[in-house]
Subunit: 286 residues, 2 copies
DNA sequence: CTTGTTTTTGTAACTTTACTACATTTAGAC
DNA sequence: GTCTAAATGTAGTAAAGTTACAAAAACAAG
């Protein structure tokens, strides 16, 4: 993980004075890299060796090495995690911060991904008779999106955020049917019940949800994104984005697995959609 | 231009000894940033002041500043690559590539964002009587998601992907009503018509869509993400993600604009949702 | 609440690093 | 060859970073 993220995530392991240093650096990292250890220490109200120890705790060889790594971490355009939105931020700052934290969450998700359940999901979908995507609340739109993508394919697929519709589908499910349950927490009661019903019918139940959650208990396998998110403060944002990208990946895998003939079909579907749009005057490529 | 490129392009202006230094740095830049001026000078077979002068000639304040800039220039070197998915990629590779290209698209979107229409959107929503989110296809789930978020707020909001429902809403719209039209291409006929109707009724029509598109003609203002996307090959993926993050930003702006009392209300909504979930056994913070 | 122990923090001496002023060398022009 | 100017290096100096150790603070046990 990159240095700035580490500073903010490992704050709990720091001592009181070290936290002062951390706060200063997270507040204005660009400035910190141009300061000497003495001036940084003075600004943080601590002694120079404290700053040095702070650097060492982060695995750096010393202060110069720390500055170097910090500079790299900044240059990478690596999102500043946990730069919370503050009371009098303007719209531009808010937008940047939201984008930053989403980028950060995504790159964390990418690193911590386990490809085995993803491969298994692709496998199951390729041989599925019919596929359902269920979810509630914020996860409903994720399920909606997934089904939208699958609508272009020839395997029958449904989306629903209606518990009764979901229940009916689950009751009618059979082996070789695939049910994808989407939930950030994995604790939504209604969805757990549906999953259990389908699971009983020997349908393939896949969870895009938190590992070791009540929902994942009823799933054949679980794909999770491990996005750190402060759901206490605001609603799930980044985790939902990670789920969507995950589904994109699953779909890309599915498309590829189906082979070249299948992709020809897709091209035809795409062509068929053109009638619903205004044609372009310009010749610019979209 | 970035430092490494400058070193190689400005070589002609360097003196003989300075060129030795340049050659050394271009050969192994990663190593150079961990060396002291003395060891670098020795390695290049020149004196320390020569290295220092070399740094100054490149516009750096001195050797430490040079190292810093060099480090940044190196870190920037490898952004998220937009590698295409290939025929016999395995699932892991596909997943990484999809995440990479999404990350890439998001960071491009972040840079090219214009905050003025975003601010205007927040403004309009804060004083809105009712808000609608409309879209078709892939954009339907984006609209769905947006409405989901707004469902927690006290301003009445709707989502629809049904042209008739949309039309009825548009016909009944009034000034101070806000209509958010979401479309990747901005060329979906049905949505343009709806926008036109609402626009005629003097409702505030906001487009999350391509600039200078038929749809944006009927919008008071347009928020766009400028994500380069190869829609010919696959379906829109990254652009849709960028739209979602954009909406997150708008919602964050909205929440903040509404002030602290409003956020207390949100906390109560959140508390109210708990009944629908299984409680946690573990005490770990989510 | 006191005492002993451990952890944290700061002070001061020390080492390393980078910079400056000046001397020397080198290259080019006449 | 000699003068001039540019380039390079030497040595001293200033600044920055590190280490060892002592003081202070936090903690636990009696």
């Amino acid at each position: 993980m990159d240095l700035i993220n580490r500073i903010s995530s490992e704050q709990s392991q720091f001592s009181k004075s070290e936290r002062k240093v951390a706060a200063l650096i997270l507040h204005e990292p660009e400035q910190a890299i141009h300061r000497s250890i003495a001036s940084l220490a003075a600004l943080a109200g601590v002694s120079e060796p404290t700053v040095n120890r702070f650097c060492r705790r982060l695995g750096c060889k010393g202060y110069p090495d720390f500055k170097l790594q910090l500079a790299q971490s900044l240059a990478q355009g690596t999102p500043y995690v946990n730069r919370d939105i503050e009371e009098n931020d303007n719209v531009d700052q808010i937008t940047q911060k939201i984008f930053d934290s989403t980028l950060n969450a995504l790159s964390i998700a990418r690193q911590s991904l386990d490809s085995r359940p993803i491969a298994a999901t692709v496998e199951a979908m390729v041989s599925a008779r019919k596929i359902a995507f269920f979810g509630f609340g914020a996860s409903a739109s994720v399920a909606h999106d997934a089904q939208n993508k699958f609508a272009r394919f020839d395997t029958p697929s449904v989306f629903s955020d209606d518990p009764l519709v979901q229940r009916m589908w689950a009751i009618n499910s059979e082996p070789n049917d695939v049910l994808v349950c989407i939930s950030h927490t994995g604790r939504t009661k209604a969805l757990c019940e549906i999953a259990a019903i389908a699971h009983n019918n020997k349908a393939t139940v896949i969870g895009i949800t938190a590992p070791n959650s009540p929902l994942s208990e009823n799933c054949q396998f679980t794909v999770s994104t491990n996005v750190p998110e402060d759901t206490d403060q605001y609603m799930p944002m980044a985790s939902r984005i990670a789920q969507l990208v995950l589904i994109d990946a699953i779909i890309a895998g599915y498309t590829l697995q189906r082979g070249p003939k299948f992709r020809e079909k897709l091209a035809r579907v795409k062509e068929g959609l053109k009638g619903s749009r205004y044609s372009k005057q310009t010749t610019t490529k979209e």
